[in-house]
């Protein structure tokens, strides 16, 4: 099942204003792995994710998604394989109704209408948003928007899920539901987040980014115990791994 593999080699990216986004990032993520990408603001997390489905092209280096190198001619195939959930669901939900939005991807693939209908229903049910199908996206709460944004990607049946800050702006219960939902997915997952507790729950492996470079790559629980590494990367232990403020 090599088509679920994500491989980056020596990725470099410089923003048009001259800021270095990535400076030699390399990693290999295999089938079914769940990987968190953590780091300070501006460390290059979102920039890295944007390279995984061709939204940005590297100045140097290569990205391979499964059997394809990510180049112009393979872009369509790669985008069907890699489902990207954006940080702000308002950027992702651009159609007038939830149904239209979730159907957008499958219709672009060219699936027949019955299949589209079936996929939309299934994707919405998976995220528990079946009742929202005829609602306009601007009427939804942040949590509902997030669920629908995930459904809009699931409906394309991607093999790899890439998410940028999925738990941002969610209330604690919506966040918990999201974590439980993510745990049920069998996809290869790459999640950029500041929510280290979510990373601990969902991802067995973590990449720590700092100033456009990977400064650590390893088991999540182990990396989050390394206080020196966390402090260098402007992070701190997940709340769950800190001492109880009452008992200590």
């Amino acid at each position: 099942m090599s088509h679920h593999i994500v491989e980056a080699q020596n990725l470099h990216y410089v923003y048009p204003d001259g800021t270095a986004g990535l400076q030699g990032v390399s990693f290999r993520i295999t089938h079914g792995e769940s990987v968190a990408v953590v780091g300070a603001n501006g460390a290059g997390k979102s920039t890295l994710l944007m390279h995984l489905n061709g939204c940005l092209s590297p100045a140097q280096g290569t990205v391979r998604i499964g059997d394809f190198p990510l180049i112009k001619t393979t872009l369509k195939a790669v985008r069907r394989t890699v489902g990207m959930v954006f940080q702000n669901p308002d950027d992702q939900l651009f159609m007038p109704t939830v149904f239209d939005d979730v159907a957008f991807g499958p219709l672009n693939i060219g699936l027949p209408e019955e299949e589209v209908e079936q996929r939309v229903t299934q994707a919405l049910e998976t995220v528990g948003a079946g009742a929202l199908r005829d609602r306009p996206p601007y009427r939804l709460s942040k949590g509902e928007k997030r669920s629908v944004a995930i459904a809009s990607v699931l409906s394309m049946s991607p093999d790899i899920l890439v998410m940028d800050e999925p738990s941002a702006d969610l209330d604690p219960q919506a966040r918990r539901r999201l974590i439980e939902l993510l745990k049920t997915f069998k996809h290869t997952k790459i999640i950029a987040t500041h929510d280290l507790d979510l990373a601990l729950d969902v991802c067995e492996r973590t990449l720590v980014l700092s100033r456009g470079r990977i400064c650590a790559d390893g088991a999540t629980a182990e990396l989050f115990r390394n206080d020196e590494l966390l402090s260098q990367s402007a992070l701190e232990r997940p709340l769950r791994m800190q001492n109880c403020p009452v008992c200590r």
């Binding site: 939204c55 069907r80 308002d90 007038p96 991807g105 672009n108």
Partner: protein, 269 residues
Amino acid sequence: MASISRHFFDLGHLDDLAGASTPLHRLDPRAKLLATLVFIAVVVSFGKYEIAALIPFFVYPVFLISVGNIPFKCVLSRLVLALPFALLVGIFNPLIDRAPLSHLANFTISGGWISFSSIMLRFVLTVSSVLALIAVTGFSPVCSALLRLGTPKIFVVQLMLMHRYLFVLLDEASKMVGAKSLRTFENSTGGLRIYGAFTGSLLLRTMERAERIYSAMQCRGFDGDIKRTLPAEFGKRDILFLCGWSLLFLLLRAFNLPLIIGQILTGTM
């Protein structure tokens, strides 16, 4: 601004009303759209001094509003919002066209005032019928209907995205105004200068957002063509609605109903 966006610009309210289920709501959007287009074309086709012949046309918006269960106030408040545009179009007529055209008791009414009244009447008729159309159909189905009737795709896509992001833009603008008002005090100066920077910042935010939206669209296979599932077929009731109303509009265009009634009442016919 926050209250403006809540009360006046509550555009979404029309779409909420479109979720109801009256017989009018269940009609095919194309039938309602075409009937409204015929209505607008007929109303606009009258001469510039025509007032009386336009009055019977109120039957259409009133029909849509009452059968569609739309609160009259909801249409009225939006009419008031669009009023300045119509006023701007007609306001110079009384100044330019001063030739006396009609006498009412001791008053002489100039052609300018009559054409101004005619413009205002047409404004109320056409805008209220379009508002009622959206309230009994919904903006998205109206867009689908436009698409199926052969309107260029690029135009419909622009319309859909504009409607979708109007809410986001208003939300951003009201947040910015809120943030500004929290840090502006009565004796502070430079109001206009601030609004210059404010508009520029809003434009930049909008452009950034547009780029992100385009990326999101590309990620899901967008190739310049928005595909949508097609609504139900055109039924007998839809044909009846469209033909019935179109016929009535044409008859009202051909025969001046108020004039005929007047002639019958005064016995001159």
